[in-house]
Structure formats: structure tokens, C-alpha cells
């Protein structure tokens, strides 16, 4: 199981590359609570890092990053620790079950089968949830009500209205009591997704917003607590098998801690619906990236005509490029809206000063 012999040599170029990817991933995570992992793991693998070591090292940078992000956003009053721990523990169970499902699929259908399962899960979940989140964000933007407080969805109102004695817990982010019989399955699904596509937040954040009724800012901040709990457990599991390359994890952490601080600061300048915009945009673009890989795996399983090596290479490279683009675009929106918000705040302060002088 131990793959220490496969740990790669690091040079200045590799270190710089990982630092920059870490920074961009951290920036997005600080803002939407997750993301980055789907680019970081393939980015490490592109340097020759074995798959499992890349997953393990990514996990080991994720929990300290999430901890710093959660602490920062807690200062802004955006974190619901109780909800985060509740969902985080159920997510941990989901991660273990998800990993078990992955292993069974790999045993039965081989690597191509496992990759196909991951890609199909990516495409279906991102298509359904991503388009819903993006549509909702656009609806808010078009309605011109982006300044107003977010409305709790009908589904969330129904979930909050169900009273199951002995299972009700009050969560400050919801400002309501909700049965843990709802939170546990949602946490479990977040963990399963994290074990499958490495980004549990694509289920965790939307479920907190639309199913439980949390505001976007609190949902994305609370996701960092879930990521911390899941990441800590996952890192320990991988470290038990000696799979964590601490150098990779700490170099990515070096960049991502700069990013996560900036992303967290950014949340204080933007309108809440921007969280949904960034998350929806990333999800929909990543969907296309993974969709491109489906024919490759179908061909490897012999379910469609065999694709040539050249075609497979083009599809793989295009898929990775689109994924990187998704992250970069997300990061640009975060930075752009943050600077816009800062400028507006400065102008408002200037105006107050001028009025004061008069």
C-alpha cells in the first residue's frame, strides 16, 4: 500500500506551479466554501504524482486550509459551527461509504468502469444542481432584488415545518429548528460526492441553501467546517497507509492560505447571490469538462467504437484545460466582484465624509 518510493522530485518550477494552483483553488474555496480539489488533484498527477498520493496530499492540504478559512469567516459571523459539525460527521460516513462503492466498482469493472462512474456522477449532479443554482442566481440578478435578503425556498420552509420529536435541533444559520433526520442524509450525500468527485461542496452548499434554508454566505462558510471535518478524517486514513506527500500538501497550502484569506475577505464586499453565480458557473463549466471524458471511458469499456490514441489525448487535454478555465473564471469573478465592492464602499465612505464636511 505504501507508495513513498513514488514520491516525485520537486524543482522550482513544480513548486511555483503548485503554489499558484493552490492560490487560485484557495481563493475560490474561501468564497464558495469548496472547489479547487477537482483541479488540484489532476494538476499534481500531471507532474507524475500517483493518483492515490495526489488524492491523499490534496486531502491533507484541504483540512488546514478549511480550518483557516472557517476561522476567518467565523470572525464575520458567517459560520454555523453546530450545523457544520453535524453535517461534517455524517459526511465522514458518506466518504467511507463512497470510497467503498468506488472500490467495488473498480473491482468489478476495472479502472475505466470506475472512471466512467465518476464522470457520469459529475455530469448528472453538476447538470441538475449547477444549472439550478445558476438559474436561481440569474433570476435574482434579473429581478433587480439582489440587495434584498434571500428568501427561504418552499422546500426549506416545509423541511423546517416538520416536527419529529427527539430529533429537532436549533441551528442559528437557519434561525429555525430542523430534524437531524434531514441533516444526516444531506451530510452523507455531501460525503459520498466528496469521495466520488472530490468536491462535496457542490451538494453541501446547495442543500444548505435550498433544502435547509440557510443564507448563501452562511452556507458557503459552514461548508468550510464540513470540509475540515471530512478532510481531517480522510487525511488520517490516507496517512495511515503512508500515502500523504507532506511536501506537496504544504506547498499547495502555502498558496491556498493566501487565496482563502482573500476569498473570505471578498465575501464581505459582495451581494449574497454572487456566491451562487460563482458556484453555478464553475459547476456548469466543469460539467462540460467531465462530459468530454465520457466517450473515452465508454470506448475503453468497449461500449462504443474504440477511439484512437490521438483522439483520447486531445479529449483528455481539452477536458483538463476546460477544468482549469472553470477555476480561473471563478477566481476572476471573485476578484472582480470584490474590487467592485471595495470601490463602492470607498465611494460611499467618501460621500459620507463630503456630506460631513458640508
Amino acid at each position: 500500500m505504501r507508495e513513498a518510493a513514488n514520491f516525485i522530485n520537486l524543482d522550482v518550477m513544480n513548486i511555483t506551479y503548485l503554489f499558484i494552483v493552490g492560490f487560485v483553488g484557495g481563493l475560490v474555496s474561501g468564497f464558495i466554501g469548496s472547489g479547487g480539489a477537482f483541479v488540484l488533484t489532476p494538476a499534481m498527477m500531471s507532474l507524475g504524482v500517483p493518483g492515490l498520493v495526489a488524492v491523499a496530499s490534496n486531502m491533507c492540504h484541504k483540512f488546514p486550509k478549511a480550518l483557516i478559512g472557517a476561522l476567518k469567516r467565523a470572525k464575520y459571523g458567517q459560520v454555523d459551527v453546530k450545523l457544520g459539525i453535524d453535517l461534517g460527521i455524517s459526511a465522514e460516513a458518506g466518504v467511507l461509504y463512497g470510497a467503498h462503492v468506488q472500490e467495488s466498482i473498480k473491482k468489478t469493472f476495472g479502472d475505466a468502469g470506475s472512471n466512467l462512474y465518476v464522470s457520469v456522477a459529475f455530469v448528472i449532479i453538476l447538470a441538475v444542481v449547477g444549472s439550478f443554482v445558476l438559474k436561481d442566481a440569474l433570476k435574482t440578478y434579473k429581478s433587480g432584488n439582489s440587495h434584498e435578503e434571500e428568501k427561504v425556498t418552499k422546500l426549506a420552509r416545509w423541511v423546517q415545518s416538520i416536527d419529529i420529536p427527539g430529533t429537532m435541533v436549533y441551528f442559528k444559520s437557519l434561525n429555525a429548528r430542523i430534524s437531524v433526520l434531514f441533516t444526516i442524509p444531506l451530510g452523507f450525500a455531501t460525503g459520498m460526492l466528496a469521495a466520488t468527485i472530490a468536491v462535496g461542496g457542490f451538494i453541501g452548499v446547495p442543500s444548505m441553501i435550498y433544502v435547509m434554508g440557510a443564507p448563501s454566505l452562511m452556507a458557503s462558510a459552514t461548508e468550510l467546517v464540513i470540509a475540515f471535518v471530512m478532510g481531517l478524517g480522510g487525511s488520517f486514513k490516507y496517512a495511515m497507509h503512508g500515502l500523504v506527500d507532506i511536501r506537496l500538501a504544504m506547498i499547495i497550502l502555502a498558496g491556498s492560505l493566501f487565496g482563502i484569506q482573500l476569498g473570505a475577505i471578498g465575501t464581505t464586499y459582495v451581494k449574497p447571490f454572487m456566491i451562487k453565480v460563482v458556484m453555478g458557473v464553475i459547476m456548469v463549466i466543469v460539467l462540460f469538462s467531465r462530459g468530454l471524458m465520457v466517450p473515452v471511458y465508454l470506448s475503453q469499456l468497449g461500449l462504443i467504437q474504440t477511439l484512437g490514441a490521438g483522439t483520447i489525448k486531445i479529449l483528455k487535454n481539452t477536458s483538463f484545460a476546460i477544468m482549469a478555465l472553470a477555476l480561473l473564471l471563478g477566481a476572476s469573478i471573485v476578484l472582480g466582484s470584490m474590487f467592485k465592492g471595495r470601490r463602492a464602499a470607498r465611494e460611499a465612505a467618501q460621500e459620507v465624509l463630503e456630506h460631513g464636511n458640508i
Binding site: C60, P64, S235, A239, M240, R247, M250, A345
Partner: protein, 85 residues
């Protein structure tokens, strides 16, 4: 107003330098002892506590440094909207 900005930026400068030096030293130690680090930290079993402890240590020091870094650059959180109301 300008004075206020100046003083708030100066405040964490000393702690920025201190945490920066410690963070830089930690990374220096890790990267100059790569083989030793990988040998001990990837032994598995109970040694699994080591990479976790290292991650906590680096995040505490480097996290504090990066937080102060943006503050010194003047990039800080917006004032609470409630106050504007």
C-alpha cells in the same frame, strides 16, 4: 482618516515579519530535508499523526502570516452592513 489607515496598517507589520520569518523557516526546513520528511511522515500506522501535526503547525503559522499580509496591504473585510443601515 489617512492617519487611521496608516496606524492600522503599521500595527501588524512587526507580527507579519515575525510570522513570515517563522513560516519561511518552516518551509526551508521541510524542503531542505525532503527525504527525511517523507521517510518519517509516510511510514503509516501510528506515524499518521505526524503529517496531521505538521499540517496543523504550518496552517497556524502560515495562516497567521497570510492573514496579516493582506491586512498590511490594506485589503480588509468590509464594515458590517448593519452599521450602514
Amino acid at each position: 482618516m489617512a492617519k487611521n489607515y496608516g496606524s492600522s496598517r503599521k500595527k501588524p507589520l512587526v507580527s507579519l515579519i515575525i510570522t513570515g520569518v517563522i513560516s519561511f523557516a518552516l518551509y526551508g526546513i521541510l524542503l531542505s530535508n525532503q527525504n527525511l520528511a517523507n521517510d518519517y511522515l509516510s511510514r503509516g500506522g501510528l506515524f499518521a499523526f505526524l503529517p496531521i501535526a505538521v499540517a496543523f503547525l504550518f496552517s497556524a503559522v502560515h495562516g497567521s502570516f497570510t492573514g496579516k499580509f493582506w491586512t498590511v496591504l490594506g485589503i480588509e473585510a468590509a464594515k458590517k452592513k448593519k452599521e450602514v443601515k
